[in-house]
Amino acid sequence: MTTKRVTLLILAIIVIASPFFFPSNYYYRVGSLIFVNGLAVTGMVILIGYAGQISLGHAGFAGIGGYACALAPVHLGLHPGLAAILGAAISGALAWAVGRPVLRLKGYYLAVATLGLGILVSMVLANEAWLTRGPDGIEVPDLGLNDLLEAVGIDLSNSQFWYFFSGLVLVIGAWVALNLYDSPTGRALRALHGSEIAARTVGIDVARLKLQAFVISAIYASLSGSLLALQNKFITPDVAGFMHSIEMVTMAVLGGVGSVLGAFFGATILTTLPQVLTVFQEYEQILLGLVMMLCMIFMREGLLPSILRALRGKDK
């Protein structure tokens, strides 16, 4: 079986089988958070893992996706589901407009330019209170899909519904990302990751491809923001904040940014860690900082590849 099928199969099994081990409804909630983060991180895999570019501002796109679901239904009369698509379109357009000049930059410069972009978005969301109601957040209308399912006889609790729905979206997102990996575009992206100049000499339009990866990853982030807003029925500007951007990158790099499964693994760890650590709330920051540093120093390709290699090493 190909990596693609294995990855999709593993993700699907995780989504379907995990609930058998859930002792309470609370676990559905954590599970759907993991899937929501996993979706955003899958976008980071395309940007960082495939194309080799970095962004410290993708939470800005998550903010746009989230606030689209809060605002478009009220002001434009759109269905919340369509609002999420509108948010993705706006995020994609913004990424396209900003990406053209920004993606000429490399390394730290690219990191800081994207960081600035993300912070500007979060500032607008926090300060334009006439529209967004400011730092305290705003409520988001119900998606209505769960009621629809109930009408045809499938009875799920709210957190159960969001668990399976987010899981489904994640699997679809992973499927798209994995297809991209093997497509001509994906190969070209990986080529420019290896060496931009070599890629250019074989006729790859480097600027256009980087822009594509940036736009696609922005759409992933936007959809994850929409999912988060819809399931919480509430959203605050924090979703677009600096820390959320850092979390996205850290999740991706922690698990192993080269593969969708690795990144999902990273999202799982970093989402569950704070839930487990609520007991040690005082130490949460210390531990998060330590995890970030230790992983990057000792396991540079990320946890999953390092673990797999250690296992293979033992087999020999």
């Binding site: 960082i48 970095i54 410290l56 000049p101 920004v102 930059l105 390394g107 730290y108 410069y109 990191a111 800081v112 330019a113 960081l115 600035g116 972009l117 912070i119 500007l120 500032m123 300060n127 100049i197 600096f242 850092i246 990158v249 850290t250 790099v253 940014v257 005082e282 130490y283 949460e284 920051q285 210390i286 531990l287 998060l288 900082g289 330590l290 995890v291 970030m292 540093m293 990057m296 120093i297 540079r300």
Partner: protein, 290 residues
């Protein structure tokens, strides 16, 4: 006119703090090509340690000295424990390491100290000085003097002393520096100590004006970086001018445009600089080797 003067004075004051942070960035960046996102935590440590040493009964100058020495030690530890083991790691990893360090230091600070806002008395009282219809706090002059003194000190260090030249040589070409007998590991240690001490000094100087708490570091790091980038990464004079310019832009934005978007100014500046002149005001144009 008096209004403009007031904005300029307050802009120069914050700008001087950004300049100090930017100078700290520059030293580490030159020695190691690492952009240290934990730079702002040095400012926080400088202020917080001084506050708590002063509360414990030590006289202010001694408390400040302890804070600067302690922060320098923290800088050395950061280099030894987190940066040196990761040598050769890709930029993404280094960014995450230094941001991780920043979060870690914040976490330790809120545990060891507390989550309150603190300040200590200004060095020469709180009576404002009147200049051209505007006022400036005596402490602002301390901050400005500090930034200029550090800049002059660094200039003398890098051009007049053998050690300073060793640092410059390392930043130009690490391998060649090793070949002529420079201990580049020691140069790295020295750079981190120096950079952390400068950050701590900024924290000590600014605390009487803006107060200090465990979480202020990230903002200083980002603004200092914006200043360094505006001036041109790696250029000390660029860091000084870029930092002060950024402070002025911020103060004028707050005064004439919108006070809530004052913090946005730094990032708009970053974006504009990167698009229009990526090498900054004083930076050299760099070329990639293939």
């Amino acid at each position: 006119m008096a209004e403009l003067m007031q904005f300029l004075l307050s802009g120069v004051t914050v700008g001087a703090v950004y300049a100090l942070v930017a100078l700290g960035f520059t030293i580490i960046y030159n020695a190691s090509d690492v952009v240290n996102f934990a730079q702002g935590e040095f400012v926080m440590l400088g202020g917080m340690i001084t506050v708590f040493a002063h509360m414990a009964g030590l006289p202010l100058p001694l408390a400040a000295l302890i804070a600067i020495a302690g922060t320098a030690a923290a800088g050395v530890l950061l280099n030894k424990l987190a940066i040196e083991p990761a040598r050769g790691a890709p930029v993404v990893s280094l960014i995450i390491i230094t941001i991780g360090a920043s979060i870690f230091i914040q976490g330790v600070a809120q545990l060891v100290f507390d989550k309150q806002l603190h300040r200590f008395p200004a060095f020469s009282g709180d009576t404002p000085i009147r200049i051209l219809g505007a006022t400036i706090l005596p402490q602002s002059l301390w901050v400005l003097a500090g930034a200029i003194a550090v800049f002059v000190g660094l200039w003398a260090f890098f051009t007049k002393t053998l050690t300073g030249r060793a640092v410059l040589a390392t930043s130009n070409n690490r391998l060649a520096a090793q070949l002529v007998g420079i201990n580049t590991n020691w140069v790295m240690t020295l750079s981190f100590a120096l950079s952390a001490a400068i950050g701590a000094l900024a924290g000590v100087l600014v605390t009487p004006i803006t107060n200090i708490s465990y979480g202020v570091g990230i903002a200083y790091a980002l603004k200092g970086f914006a200043g360094a980038m505006l001036g041109g990464m790696g250029s000390p004079i660029g860091a000084l001018v870029g930092g002060i310019l950024l402070g002025l832009i911020e103060a004028l934005t707050a005064g004439y445009l919108s006070s809530v978007y004052k913090d946005a100014a730094a990032f708009v500046v970053i974006l504009v600089v990167l698009f229009v002149m990526p090498q900054g005001l004083f930076g050299r144009k760099s070329t990639d080797r293939v």
